[in-house]
């Protein structure tokens, strides 16, 4: 598998089979308090997230700081052991794999980290950093490993003469290239890019994003691109998931989302994207949310967004909305778009709708 060259001629959308399937992923971090360090609660960093990533596509994951984007990325690769839910990557459930099987599975899935300074061991020269996965998963001799290291350095645009330099001798962009080369070393299928450009200068960001796109075309990679940079996500992603407080608010194709966001939170978030055209910018209305994000240790009853939502109504305060397909390819978790609300809206009280459809009570129902 490792010897396989790039997958030539493969384009982004020629296979529509999901490579990654996430179902109801939950990641709770326990809170211990008191003298006896009893478990007194959980930080619900990720609270029931489901999505698919098709083979060869880029799924953007956006949201504000602390909404659980990075936790999703890390739980997906089992850097954290998920509390509940399943993550199927290429046919195997990562969340329940035994350590041995997980080890063998590791080459398929890799990660590019946010801070290239922190993700490279400062005491290792570049060739060791990139070559380490090869030592771990192959029995190649030093010569063959070096050939592969050079190949990877060429692929990410690093001069071969740098092979024995240490990380501190590189600039931020070059370090991120090293991180990408390391992720590519074992020919992965799926790469989680955890804010790969957030720590870089603006001038370097575009280079790195272009490199990532290039590599995707050459090697047929599938990305989960986590970012809070909405314009960069618009550039690279095929579909975009908007997260708020541990849940997905909306998951839509990129163009549809950016031109007409459905979820009120997505709408508010996208209205914050700077508009380059001053004429358009002048006519645009920015939605400014009031209040703060509630604590993930104690999320509000009902919809997570109801405390700040400009369009919240009674039902939002009692019932958590499910992520459902409201238009072809567009999934939204909002009562505004559920068919019975629209119905009920025409007849008056939304509460009537709840009483009419009791089976819709689910995880967030009043206890």
């Amino acid at each position: 598998m490792l010897d396989a060259p790039a997958h030539p001629g493969r384009t982004r959308t020629d296979t529509a089979r999901p490579l990654v399937q996430v179902r109801d992923l939950k990641m709770y971090f326990p809170i211990y308090s008191g003298v006896l360090r009893r478990r007194s609660g959980d930080v619900k960093a990720v609270d029931g997230v489901s999505f698919d990533i098709l083979s060869g596509e880029t799924l953007g994951l956006v949201g504000e700081s602390g909404c659980g984007k990075s936790t999703v990325g890390r739980a997906l690769l089992r850097l954290y052991d998920p509390t509940a839910g399943s993550v199927t990557i290429d046919g195997e459930d990562i969340a329940t794999l035994s350590p041995g099987a997980l080890r063998r599975k590791r080459p398929t899935m890799q990660m590019v980290f946010q801070d290239p300074q922190a993700s490279l061991n400062p005491r290792m020269p570049l060739s060791d950093l990139i070559g380490e996965p090869l030592i771990e998963h192959t029995d190649w001799n030093a010569e063959r490993r070096l050939a592969r290291i050079y190949e990877l350095m060429d692929a990410v645009g690093l001069n071969r003469r740098f092979a024995n330099r240490f990380p501190y001798e590189f600039s931020g962009g070059q370090r991120q290239r090293i991180g990408i080369a390391r992720a590519l070393a074992l020919n992965p299928k799926f790469i989680v890019c955890d804010e790969p450009i957030a720590a870089l200068d603006v001038s370097i960001q575009a280079q790195v994003v272009n490199l990532l796109e290039d590599l995707q075309d050459r090697f047929g990679l599938t990305y989960l691109f986590i970012s809070h940079d909405l314009s960069m996500v618009r550039h690279i992603a095929d579909r975009v998931a908007v997260m708020y407080l541990g849940r997905i608010a909306e998951l839509s194709p990129r163009d549809a989302l950016y031109s007409r966001p459905l979820h009120p939170y997505a709408e508010a978030l996208l209205s914050a994207v700077p508009e380059p055209d001053p004429n358009v910018a002048a006519t645009r209305t920015r939605i400014i949310l009031k209040g703060d994000v509630p604590s993930p240790a104690n999320p509000p009853k009902g919809c997570n967004f109801n405390t700040r939502c400009p369009r919240a109504f009674d039902r939002c305060r009692v019932e958590k909305p499910d992520l459902v397909e409201v238009e072809p390819g567009r999934l939204v978790a909002c009562h505004l778009y559920s068919p019975d609300t629209r119905h009920a809206g025409s007849t008056g009280s939304p509460e009537a709708a709840i009483q009419a459809r009791p089976e819709h009570f689910q995880q967030g129902a009043p206890k």
Binding site: R74, L77, L79, L102, R103, R104, R106, P107, M109, Q110, M111, F113, Q114, D115, A118, S119, L120, N121, P122, R123, P125, S127, D128, E132, P133, E136, H137, R161, F162, N164, R165, F166, Y168, E169, G179, R182, L186
Partner: protein, 301 residues
């Protein structure tokens, strides 16, 4: 020489060894800028040279007694630092004693940090119960004054140079375990350890390949700073008669034997005391200098 320097400073090393040697060279350049560290290095270097060539340098046999020439003051022709109560040449004994000191220091420097690193990194990496148990054991060892614990161990094992080393090593590891654990806790959740885990590396590879090298500089600094303490404890054990046995010229033992003559023939105790002082100072200065060189927080920019 110039060619070697160019080779070491090459920004694009052609081999891994050249890269590592280049790092050492940079470290040496930084160390060289610190005059105190260099003087420490010179003292330690002198100790090594003196110990290596002790039989050649020593003017007399350190064990040869001459009762007609006992307790001669320093400056006496033939006995530069005077003689002790058996007429043995103090200079020769100090020179030969440097071997014993170096032997003890060397053995302790190899064993105690090894044990401390192992316990500290394992404790810090796993956390939870492992951490609690290992750290409570460390606390127990730390709760005893070192010399008392070493005394108790030697009393059980019996006096002698090997047992003294063993006792010192067993009392010296807890600080290293603490340092290594603290360092491990800071790197355990770092991205580069996450990256190694993503590659599928097992726990032994992570600890030995990534965590230990990160902790090593702090521990090395701590060891050089502790060397003075080790020399003093070894001397203390010798002074109490529980370490090296007479007639071997161990420095602590020499101080102890001069105790009776402290007021009239001060040099019998003072000369080996000065030797201990100078060597301890040397290790301390070197340790301080190494801290500036090896500290990852002051990594080269």
């Amino acid at each position: 020489m110039a060619g070697l320097r160019v080779w070491l400073m090459d920004p694009n090393p052609t081999s891994r060894r050249q890269a590592r040697l280049g790092q050492f060279w940079l470290g040496w350049l930084r160390l060289r800028r610190n005059p105190l560290a260099v003087s420490g290095l010179v003292i330690v270097g002198l100790l090594l040279v003196v110990a290596a060539f002790a039989p050649v340098i020593a003017p007399h046999d350190p064990l040869a007694q001459d009762l007609s020439r006992r307790l001669l003051p320093p400056g006496t022709p033939g006995n530069l630092l005077g003689t002790d109560d058996f007429g043995r040449d103090i200079l020769s004994r100090i020179i030969t004693g440097s071997r014993i000191t170096l032997y003890i220091v060397g053995l302790v420097a190899v064993t105690a940090p090894f044990l401390g690193l192992l316990i500290g990194t394992v404790s810090g990496y796993f956390g939870g119960w492992t951490d609690a148990v290992l750290m409570r054991i460390t606390d127990i060892f730390l709760a005893f004054p070192r010399l008392i614990l070493a005394l108790a161990l030697v009393a059980v094992l019996g006096p002698g140079i090997e047992n003294a080393v063993l006792a010192i090593a067993l009392t010296a590891w807890p600080p290293y375990a603490r340092v290594a654990r603290a360092e491990t806790l800071t790197v355990r959740n770092s991205d580069y350890i996450a990256a190694v885990r993503l590659q599928g590396a097992g726990v032994p590879r992570i600890i030995l390949g990534h965590v230990v090298p990160t902790c090593l500089p702090s521990v090395i600094i701590r060891v050089t700073l502790d060397m003075a303490g080790v020399i003093l404890i070894a001397a203390g054990l010798g002074f109490l008669g529980l370490g090296v046995q007479p007639p071997l010229p161990e420095w602590g033992l020499m101080i102890s034997s001069g105790r009776k003559y402290l007021f009239e023939q001060w040099w019998v105790s003072t000369m080996p005391g000065l030797a201990i002082f100078i060597v301890s100072l040397g290790f301390n200065l070197l340790g301080d200098g190494l801290r500036d060189v090896l500290d990852p927080k002051s990594a080269p920019k």
